[in-house]
Symmetry: C2
Subunit: 472 residues, 2 copies
């Protein structure tokens, strides 16, 4: 019932999916709704809870989301996985709702619900007919304050999560590699800890850990309500006051600042040989600023840089590696800029049959070096910008992605104004800006390169992977 | 005045020194004094402070050490460097002693003093004439309880430490690489954080951080007194009661358990190109158990494995790489087993002129693969064991290394009995044990490989270091 989105790097089976999701994350966080009536209104309840209302009267349905400003990067050392664990436990019941009934009630009312956990935020959402909104808000407000965490439910759910980890991470070589890359990339910042948690730490999470985390972070003054759909601001305001408005704010609600990354001095490489892997693939991440941490204009320039250089079949990377040189079966990249503290630039490629992964890597390096040295053209920039703005406008047609966009932004350090000024800010990016951020952020010592090699167990060498070139 | 030993991997200029120190660490922690009279006695004061007395009547001098069971691995995230910082601040004075006078008083009394901080322990020690022992004990007990931490002193010392970091780490390519390797190796455990701290975090440490750390960890029930020298147990007991015995124990004294490492799935590589580097070098670490965390007999077998395979000019590694193949100018290795939570196996080599580092690595891999597959001979084992025991016996001649041995062991999870039974335990190791631990712990996915390449700035490529082989 609960589809936990626990960090793209670890819970998607294929490299492709990973990057698609990342790109989506960046998009979701930062675009203005296109629908004429979709201007969001934003206000606070007396207890500090923020509310965003996005009217959309095309159909009598609403998307209701509650976002908490807490995620896996707020966990204490040794307690990895507790944010995601608690997300599961939020479905266990309250005084009014029996364990497991939350989603059943919503389904019985013709709705659907879900939840996800990231490094920076945890969100719960439902999509229901408009007239069921009061019920949903009452239920969600109830579990914000009155969650019942019985020890037996916690222990049962722990098994579920361990199984989730096994199926999503341990069964997927690319997820394993992604996890190892993140862990090796982040020397200090908790983005290096997987959202789902390390297995041995999940296995030791207990009822008091969940209660402590719940009591510390689940409070109206640490939450954002986003309602998109066939409602008016006035309606939502009234309902919100009646439901969430009754919840007591907590004194200590702002999360602690996370440790910042030290300067990186040397590039890192991780090589995973796994007989279950498909083709040989290469992934590379570069540490970069995020929208919320970048200097003015830098994140927007990174966004367009990565679109031109790496995103889609018209990108330089794809054209060079797949179309012209035929060294890769697929290639792409993304800017992941939606994090609270920092972002990443990503590139990947799947080796074409018979091509050594070192050749693929050299071809990637060539494309990136060219962009760093010579920048991109005005025409490329214009097209990428137009595509970006257009696809975000299309994205605005989806009620739920619109709601996510605002929720994600507000939960990770940005404002409603940031969301709405995004196309305008994209329009200001120049080719010089793109070249400058390429030179500043596509730098080797800030990078980690992950190589995934399909190796037959029988022929697996006992030696080091230095001779990657001989394989694939 | 304060020579801070803040983790060998980061504060020694040359790769050689790094490994020498590591090896020493392992040795220090685990040997029985050879002198007939040097049997240590061990007791506790009423306030929980442990005392070890090691009589040594060859000269009228004493070595006095106080060890606290706290180190850099006990720092809170974002507060790296505070353990070492506090070690510096312990010389700032009390009500009775003016700032900076501590060491002056000792020097005026003909003694010398020092201190060091590691990941697991912080220690203060003095060497003085026997009749000055009461004075020293009074002064050390005084600063255990009555340290005065003025804001201005904290800020001044912070500059000193930042300068220390610059000169010891940032000016040394091998220290930089070592730091990056540790950070990339430890995915979760704080051994990945440098003892001296990350620069940006040191820069933000303030008086309240130091006070908090001092108050939490500096207490008699978290300390071990070691006195070696021309004293009897009765003398020390009497003096200890009179000085340390008066200090109040604190309720919360045992450090929290540190996060454990998750399973590693893939080997990691870090390549640093630095024009200041001398020859091209390779270092590799394998995560392993420590004496305090290993299954019975495993640490002892690892100790002898690494001696036979890598330690000294008679080791397999040296003979193969330096003597026979002439691929390396130097080569060696060590078992670092003195940590509280885990240990490391290390190997390194310096490329001979004109030899590519990838060739050197292949030669290392060959030696290690052979040991894993075929083990070592009884003769090799016997000689390594004899050497180990002998050199520890010689080490026992040094009063201060004897004192350190006990202090280090007790501060990092071992007992006096562990220290004293070590030669006996070494004697039980068989060639089968060695082969078994080689197969179990010299495994690729538990490893990180660091490559240091001297590259002229002028010729530094902008591309990836995949073609290491072409260089050096």
């Amino acid at each position: 019932m609960i589809d936990s989105f626990t960090g793209p790097a670890l819970l998607r089976a294929s490299a492709m999916a990973v990057f698609a999701v990342f790109a989506a994350g960046a998009i979701l966080g930062a675009v203005r709704p296109a629908m004429a009536e979709a201007r969001a209104s934003h206000f606070k309840l007396g207890n500090g809870m923020e509310v965003v209302v996005i009217p959309d009267h095309r159909a009598p349905v609403v998307t209701h989301m509650v976002w908490y400003r807490v995620g896996a990067a707020d966990e204490k050392p040794g307690k990895s996985g507790i944010a995601h664990f608690l997300e599961h436990l939020m479905f266990k019941g309250t005084e009014k709702i029996a364990p497991g009934d939350f989603s059943k009630i919503i389904a019985r009312n013709g709705g659907e619900d879900n939840a996800f956990t990231g490094h920076d935020a945890t969100a719960y959402f439902q999509r229901v007919a408009k007239d069921r909104l009061p019920l949903i808000m009452e239920m969600e407000a109830d579990r914000m304050e009155n969650l019942r965490l019985l020890e037996k439910d916690v222990l049962t759910e722990r098994k579920v999560i361990l199984e989730e980890r096994r199926s999503r991470v341990d069964n997927s070589p690319s997820s394993i590699l992604g996890e190892q890359m993140m862990a090796a990339l982040y020397q200090s910042h908790p983005y290096g800890v997987p959202v789902i948690g390390w297995e041995h730490e999940i296995a030791e999470l207990e009822q008091p850990d969940a209660i402590k985390f719940y009591q510390r972070y689940y409070a109206p003054n640490n939450a954002i309500l986003v309602v998109a759909g066939d409602v008016t601001e006035a309606e939502v305001r009234k309902l919100a006051k009646k439901t969430y408005g009754k919840a007591k704010p907590r004194a200590e609600r702002v999360r602690d600042a996370r440790p910042r990354e030290p300067k990186h001095a040397a590039p890192v490489r991780v090589t995973l040989e796994d007989p279950r892997a498909g083709s040989a693939t290469i992934q590379r991440y570069y540490l970069s600023p995020a929208y919320s941490s970048a200097e003015p204009g830098e994140a927007e320039a990174l966004e367009l840089l990565m679109k031109v250089a790496t995103s889609g079949t018209t990108s330089r990377l794809y054209k060079s590696l797949v179309v012209e040189k035929k060294k890769a079966a697929d290639a792409g990249g993304w800017y992941g800029g939606s994090g609270l503290d920092s972002g990443r630039l990503g590139v990947y490629a799947v080796a074409a049959e018979g091509v050594a992964i070192s050749e693929v890597e050299a071809a990637i390096d060539e494309v990136l070096a060219d962009v760093r040295e010579n920048g991109i053209t005005q025409k490329e920039l214009d097209r990428a910008r137009m595509d970006a703005i257009a696809s975000h406008i299309y994205g605005s047609d989806s009620q739920s992605s619109l709601a996510r966009r605002y929720g994600w932004a507000l939960a990770s350090g940005r404002t409603v104004a940031d969301v709405e000024s995004w196309p305008e800010r994209l329009r200001k990016v120049s080719v010089e800006d793109v070249k400058r951020v390429a030179q500043k952020h596509l730098i080797e010592k800030q990078s980690i390169t992950g190589i995934l090699l399909p190796v037959e167990k029988a022929t697996k060498r006992s030696k080091k992977g230095n001779d990657e070139a001989r394989k694939s």
